[in-house]
């Protein structure tokens, strides 16, 4: 009863505000809206063009985002969901909660990407990051890594998106041999963490020689800390892509504004903020170009399973991974 009263009270406060300027609510992951993330600058830039109020709502990390959308269902207050990745778009499509976006724009992704429901806003290659001062000759393939006695830290594919990305990377690169690759890697893996931040933190503390992260991670240390000791190992089989996307919810009460936001997403006002706040490649390179360090580690070959294929491969790949690592 108290909740209802409170809700009624809040609704009365909210109504006059609604009448003045339209509100566009964007559901995204927490680090996007933190004060050092892309959120604040993007909010200012978009509000300058739309005469609207852009509100970001955080929903934990990337993996929690889709669950949140499903929990809210049709009753969601959100208009746009920003931050799903290509490992999750098949499941997101299957919910039937997203509407076609109609954005036609060219992007600078290293692979062809077009999806009727989702617009990409940034992307990165998964890679093992190491410290050049401690490791002179990094491995050049998964087989090379498995044969070495290097210690690595990875993330759990059951709780984090990079962990799932690695699973799909090995599967896309090695297909039927994926299980053997994992068996070979088993003695290199120091531990498997629940999320990216624990793994990266452990690596920086010197707990492993390499950590699963992104090719752009060294650029963070270079730009933010003037530290050029970190590097990403380039693998011959190519690197798996993570493409982060946004989509419009079918139940939105601001469809036009949502479309406007998705189109704005690929403009300079949004894209120029991405590299040094989200530390990923912008989906469309802004006119100002990329900051230093973003060209340092560019794999020759990019791997990406189509969303439906990735979703179909997941359970089998997970079982292989578990069998290989439970010794």
């Amino acid at each position: 009863m108290k909740t209802k009263l409170l809700a009624a009270g809040l609704a009365t406060i909210a109504i006059p505000a609604l009448a003045e300027t339209p509100v566009l609510t964007v559901l995204t992951y927490d680090s996007f809206i933190s004060e050092w993330g892309p959120g604040p600058a993007i909010e200012t830039a978009f509000e300058a063009t739309c005469t609207c109020d852009l509100r970001f709502v955080g929903a934990g990390d990337g993996a929690a985002l889709l669950a949140r959308v499903q929990l809210e269902g049709d009753a969601s207050d959100a208009d746009v969901v920003l931050g799903l990745d290509t490992g999750l778009t098949a499941a997101a499509t299957a919910t039937g909660l997203f509407a076609p976006h109609g954005v036609v724009a060219t992007t600078d992704l290293p692979v062809e990407f077009s999806d009727p429901l989702f617009v990409p806003f940034d992307w990165g290659w998964f890679a093992f990051v190491y410290d050049k001062t401690r490791l002179a000759t990094p491995p050049t393939s998964f087989a090379d890594l498995a044969a070495s006695d290097l210690k690595i830290i990875i993330q759990d594919p059951r709780s984090s998106t990079p962990g799932l990305g690695l699973l799909l990377w090995v599967k896309a690169a090695h297909g039927d041999q994926a299980a053997e690759i994992w068996a070979g890697l088993a003695d290199n893996i120091v531990t498997v963490t629940p999320g990216w931040s624990e793994a990266y933190g452990l690596f920086l503390e010197g707990e492993a020689d390499m950590v699963l992260s992104y090719t752009t991670s060294p650029a963070y240390h270079l730009i933010a800390e003037s530290d050029d000791s970190k590097a990403a190992a380039l693998f011959d089989e190519g690197h798996y892509l993570q493409i982060e996307v946004a989509g419009k919810l079918a139940a939105t009460d601001q469809p036009a504004l949502a479309d406007q936001f998705l189109a704005f997403m690929l403009s300079d006002g949004f894209q120029s903020v991405i590299p040094q706040t989200n530390w990923m490649y912008p989906a469309k390179t802004p006119s100002t170009g990329l900051p230093d360090g973003f060209d340092a580690f560019r794999p020759a070959k990019s791997l990406l399973m189509p969303p439906a294929e990735a979703a179909a491969a997941r359970d089998g790949a997970l079982a292989e991974w578990q069998t290989a690592l439970v010794r």
């Binding site: 909740t3 050092w36 709502v57 929990l71 120091v190 629940p194 707990e207 933010a224 690592l325």
Partner: protein, 516 residues
């Protein structure tokens, strides 16, 4: 006694019912959205591993705590009070901060391996079951030490004097005084630690070394986040409750009230045994202090460099965390006190109250958060209720600790003074003012400290609810870590630990002062 028990009984059932509802209703909300109920085959392996590691953690934490608590109880030395307070600090650390502190000592490039390398020893890895248990002992032994130490201090000094005048040696003292006390305290302590470790998530995964160390909580994560299988999540949460209920039943079957009777409350320095026993006590206190304080020092050292470039949002986050902690502590302590006193007076319905005070420990944070989200969402924006919901959940999650701390002393109070108070007609407000509150001031202060610190450090459900500007300090630490800012995260974690410890110290000190 019956006269005083009955009204109290009815009052105490209210918080108990609220607690049970807070745990059960979200579970039902999650289950109501399920499309089917089935466990995956791997889930049973997760259940087995969860129980096994929690059992080992509880056994080691409590057994290792006994000699430490005994040494602290019978020795007097300069800085003893400060050491006891400080040794409680690891219990207040957020899991990932504790893990990083432990790794500075036991990690691959930690101090132990550096010393080992100098001595030509092979590298020792902390990752695996032993690392999980080590971390759980580090986090929970402080709680066990404090609970057992309270037990020791609750034995009236007169009993020790009687033992001395009867010519009891250490063996007889152990048999007639210490073992009965342990039997009344240990099962509760072990139960609480078992259940905490059962639902432990980040520690087990990070130090577990791989999918061998899969817990029920991870399976719940997977079910909610990647499979959106709410039926499986609800079922797994139910399994956790079942394990908790079984453990609680076992603990109740073993526990026996010690029945020492009342003393004259005179604290006296007793002649503690000399000779080799003194050497052992010094060694035990020294070893425990090293084990608990060196990783803590590592946390402090890691945090100091980043203190000056913390983001400005740290101030708001700190104030929000303190406000949440203060409010939930007041509610928690009041509820726990009413419940413990009612159970101690053996009022009818005591079993329900006992159950309500343990069950929240076994609640899966993710299921609780998801359920509350489902309940709140149709009526109000979850973001607007982030802080009230956090207060509510923190209250439910910290109450079991406070209740456990209060119960043994509330029982002793009822046994020692209940009849006297009844015969004097000391009832209602006067009974609380002149008997219950003064007699229970020490455990109340300690319990309030634990509740405040837990509310500060607990991430709980805030991540599901918080919007743009409602981050609490633990959430801020997580966000900083999630965007490469490890130095700032370490500094924010240090701030969090310092504030938690300060709140804990204020409450604990206040309680001891009021008792003295």
């Amino acid at each position: 006694m019956a006269d005083s028990a009955r009204p109290l009984n009815r009052v105490a059932l209210v918080p108990a019912a609220l607690l049970l509802a807070l745990v059960a209703v979200p579970l039902v909300a999650v289950a109501s959205r399920a499309t089917g109920f089935a466990l995956a085959p791997a889930d049973w392996a997760a259940v087995r591993f969860s129980i096994f590691q929690a059992l080992l953690s509880a056994i080691f934490s409590t057994l290792l705590a006994i000699p430490v608590a005994r040494a602290l109880a019978r020795r007097r030395f300069a800085g003893r009070g400060a050491l006891i307070t400080l040794m409680g600090a690891p219990f207040l650390l957020p899991a990932i901060v504790a893990v990083l502190g432990l790794l500075a000592v036991f990690g691959r490039s930690g101090m132990m391996n550096d010393f080992g390398a100098m001595a030509g020893l092979p590298q020792v890895s902390i990752y695996g079951l032993h690392g999980v248990v080590l971390a759980h002992v580090f986090l929970n032994m402080p709680l066990a030490v404090r609970m057992i130490l309270q037990g020791w201090q609750a034995i009236p000094t007169e009993r020790f004097r009687l033992a001395a005048s009867l010519g009891f040696g250490p063996a007889e003292v152990a048999r007639h005084l210490e073992r009965p006390m342990l039997r009344s305290v240990l099962p509760g302590a072990a139960l609480v630690i078992f259940v905490i470790c059962l639902t432990s998530f980040a520690v087990v995964l990070t130090l577990g070394g791989g999918p061998r160390a899969t817990t029920v909580e991870l399976a719940i994560y997977q079910a909610v986040r990647f499979d959106f299988d709410l039926g499986r999540a609800a079922l797994l949460a139910l399994v956790q409750f079942a394990i908790c209920a079984a453990a609680a039943g076992l603990a109740w079957a073993v526990v026996r009230p010690a029945g020492f009777g009342a003393g004259l409350d005179r604290q006296m320095a007793l002649g503690a045994p000399r000779g080799w026993r003194q050497v052992v006590d010094v060694g035990v206190i020294g070893a425990a202090a090293l084990f608990l304080l060196v990783p803590l020092a590592a946390v402090i050292l890691r945090g100091v460099p980043g203190l000056f470039d913390l983001p400005t949002s740290v101030l708001g986050a700190s104030l929000r965390s303190i406000a949440v902690a203060a409010i939930s502590t007041c509610i928690t302590v009041s509820m726990a006190l009413v419940m413990a006193v009612a159970v101690a007076s053996r009022a009818r319905g005591a079993a329900i109250i006992e159950a309500a005070a343990v069950v929240p420990l076994a609640a899966s944070g993710l299921v609780l958060g998801t359920g509350l989200f489902l309940i709140v969402h149709p009526f109000a924006s979850p973001t607007s209720l982030a802080l009230p919901v956090t207060v509510l959940v923190n209250t439910a999650l910290s109450l079991p600790y406070v209740y456990r701390l209060l119960l043994p002393e509330a029982r002793a109070l009822a046994a020692d003074y209940g009849r006297l108070a009844d015969s004097l007609g000391l009832q209602g407000f006067a009974r609380w003012r002149w008997l219950v509150l003064p007699r229970l001031a020490r455990p109340l202060g300690f319990g309030a400290g634990i509740a405040a610190a837990l509310s500060m450090g607990d991430l709980g459900v805030i991540a599901l609810f918080a919007g743009e500007s409602q981050a609490t300090l633990p959430l801020l630490v997580q966000q900083l870590m999630g965007s490469y800012r490890m130095e700032a995260a370490a500094a924010a974690a240090l701030l969090l630990v310092t504030l938690s410890f300060a709140l804990f110290w204020i409450c604990d000190w206040g309680g001891r002062r009021a008792a003295a």
